[in-house]
Symmetry: C2
Subunit: 427 residues, 2 copies
């Protein structure tokens, strides 16, 4: 339980800095840090952290041995050498206190048609207690919280007694290679906190995610010869339908998962991008569909991959085009396991106490049907990895926004957690 | 029946010029005269015809009153002022002989992935009696035939006794506005020949064609809220399936058509282009599909349009996304009637005789389930319009090629037809 007097000092500091934090978050949102275009934000962020006195390590994904690592995911159409990572370290005066990694991703997903936004997606507009924009909630709010939680500790006249690494990474929305790179770069700690927008809940488990690209291509039968099965677009739709049935079967199997068994259909299948053909009056000879499918933490990535490939292969039989032109399935991004945060860790206990003190209510838990970066720290490097942060709406959609009151409260609970986990010294 | 001695003189001239004709066709194929990019070819063609002594009228679609004409079709994403037409006229010494329009389109459809071509699509490669390339068959071969049929008449020492207009037009593959423009520009004749690649058959009838764009767009239900009906791509597929059922119903009605009643499924529906979404892990909020559907000559364009719109509207009911987000149907190209060449015209009789003399076999007829430009001359301007020309393979597909032996023979039959239809004078 946080010391009440210290909590009051932290709260006063969070309050005093909150206008600056909001402006900082607006700056973050104004960077259109889409995949492959994150570097300007990272450069700016590195300067911000250096100015605060952190030791800053700025490197790219080309600087770490991702290739050959079993949990690295393929990167297609993006240059690892352009994918900048930042680790800002505040070392304790003496080794001994518990260390901590606080990590946030700064890549955002495409904003879609600008006309569908009430406020421009990269303006950082503030209205009625919400801050709007692509990435405002997922998860630049959390990134602002990790910076200003540390600022609050400093401004409260306190110094953490353990080493702290603030990490901003890329690739969270596509591969997870940014998070993996920090571990390959050598950063370790006694716990990890990732302030994804969980609205003040702790993520007990998340599903895994696979990305794959269906590619239908071949010389079509002439439209005069057959009435069906001559068209790559229609054949791609046939594959999508087959994958919907495969997803239903996977959700049956998911009923045996210890974490997700009680949830209705935790496995989501999403055909997210489609493109095919080039002329209304030509039979399209190709079609590509970029897809995402989930898996429970108890399913193996390779097993689900093979299942997808088998489902596509089986669907060929019923389609005239595909039987002559085998479709390709390529794995072009996420090959992500799910992750379960085992209950009972000291790190979670300390966070729950900090949350209760800051919110005046117990920390609840959630299950997430979307992936986050905690799996790297928690599943592969035996580091308790807590996914907990602010909250809002519209992730990956239109009018994404983060709630500023929740941001203020989680910034305080994070400050209290850091202080209690690492310990603090006066001055 | 062509005069045998005159036919021999024409044959000798066609033979003598055939290497030049092949080179001319290669030049035509080397222009990538895709929609909106036809002008360089037309400029070159206009110079070629001027050098031969034709009176050349070069104008654009912005120079004629297309707007407001009931049979003009909408042009989307292309500038009428950039769409160049050429009419090359050879006037008879005295008015009196029967006049003739010979028309060919020089627009081509996109070539698709270059890797799927054995020979580059715009190289004009000649191999084993075939000339390869996008547009080689559809219908630059026919354009070369109309030029070299006239050259053969000249080189045989003959002069046509009727006015002849050689027209090269655009927009045949998308709207038909190029053909319509020649009529709005004022060109008329006693007959029209369009040497589309019919492989030496006469086209008894062709179906009509409509183009439309389905546009699905809206704020999706969150993937956590519903398992189906949240995805614009899946909803677009739902509409495509509904339109396949509508096409089946249309093919039932087509059984009553006098020309196409005996053909199995003469109405073809083709979703030709699809695009939607921008991220594998975001629920796509939009999807567009460019479609083509046919109609028999006895169906009304407006009736089939309303049928498409009703089918889309009815499909909304079964789809969670669409019931909240009405799809749009827009008409962005062809609104083309079908056309029947009534048997028994003098023009067809003269062509059949010329064909029989050149090929040593009777001219057969065909039904076409694709549109061509004859409808403008034949259906709206009461000009017998003959669709007859060379032949090959791969129109709108890969490895399109025209057969050079067929090209040589149809160039001769066209020369004989022109000579017999217009009459010729020595010298």
């Amino acid at each position: 339980m946080p010391d009440p007097a210290r909590l009051d000092r932290l709260r006063a500091a969070v309050e005093a800095n909150f206008a600056a934090q909001t402006a900082f978050l607006q700056e973050l949102v104004r960077f259109p840090s889409l995949r492959g275009r994150e570097a300007p934000l990272q450069d700016w962020f590195a300067r911000q952290m250096a100015a605060r006195g952190y030791a800053v390590d700025r490197y790219t994904l080309a600087d770490v041995p991702l290739e050959g690592h079993g949990k690295a995911a393929p990167m297609v159409d993006v240059d690892p050498a352009g994918s900048v990572q930042v680790v800002a370290t505040r070392r304790a005066r003496e080794a001994g206190g518990r260390s901590l990694i606080v990590q946030g991703h700064i890549d955002v997903v495409p904003e879609g048609p600008a006309a569908m936004w009430t406020h421009p997606p990269y303006a950082g507009t503030v209205r009625d207690g919400w801050l709007y924009g692509r990435g405002a909630n997922d998860m630049k709010a959390g990134v602002s919280a990790m910076v200003f939680a540390m600022d609050a500790i400093r401004d409260a006249g306190l110094t953490p007694a353990g080493d702290i690494h603030l990490q901003t990474v890329t690739e969270e929305e596509s591969t997870g290679n940014g998070a993996l790179s920090t571990l390959l770069r050598g950063y370790r700690a006694d716990a990890c906190l990732i302030p994804e927008p969980t609205a003040g809940t702790i993520t007990r488990a998340h599903t895994g995610t696979l990305w794959f690209r269906l590619r239908v291509r071949g010389v079509p039968v002439h439209v005069a010869v057959a009435d069906t099965g001559t068209n790559a677009i229609l054949s791609a739709l046939h594959l999508v339908t087959a994958l919907q049935r495969f997803t239903e079967a996977l959700n049956e199997l998911a009923k045996a998962d210890p974490s997700f068994g009680a949830m209705r259909n935790p496995i989501k299948f999403n055909p997210g991008i489609i493109r095919g053909g080039d002329w209304a009056s030509s039979t399209p000879a190709w079609c590509e569909v970029d897809c995402r499918i989930g898996l429970t933490p108890s399913m193996e990535v390779d097993e689900v991959r093979r299942g997808v490939e088998r489902a596509v292969e089986a669907a060929r039989a019923g389609d005239a085009f595909l039987s002559n032109n085998p479709p390709e399935v390529s794995w072009h991004g996420f090959l992500a396991d799910g992750y379960v945060l085992e209950p009972g860790s000291e790190a979670e206990r300390v966070l729950a106490a900090a949350h209760a003190a800051a919110f005046g209510a117990p920390m609840e838990e959630r299950l997430s049907t979307a992936v986050n970066d905690t799996r790297y720290y928690g599943r592969y490097y035996a580091t308790p990895a807590l996914c907990y942060g602010p909250g809002g709406e519209g992730n990956h959609g239109f009018d994404e926004r983060t709630n500023l009151d929740l941001l203020r409260k989680t910034t305080l609970s994070m400050a209290a957690f850091i202080a209690d986990w690492c310990g603090v010294e006066e001055g």
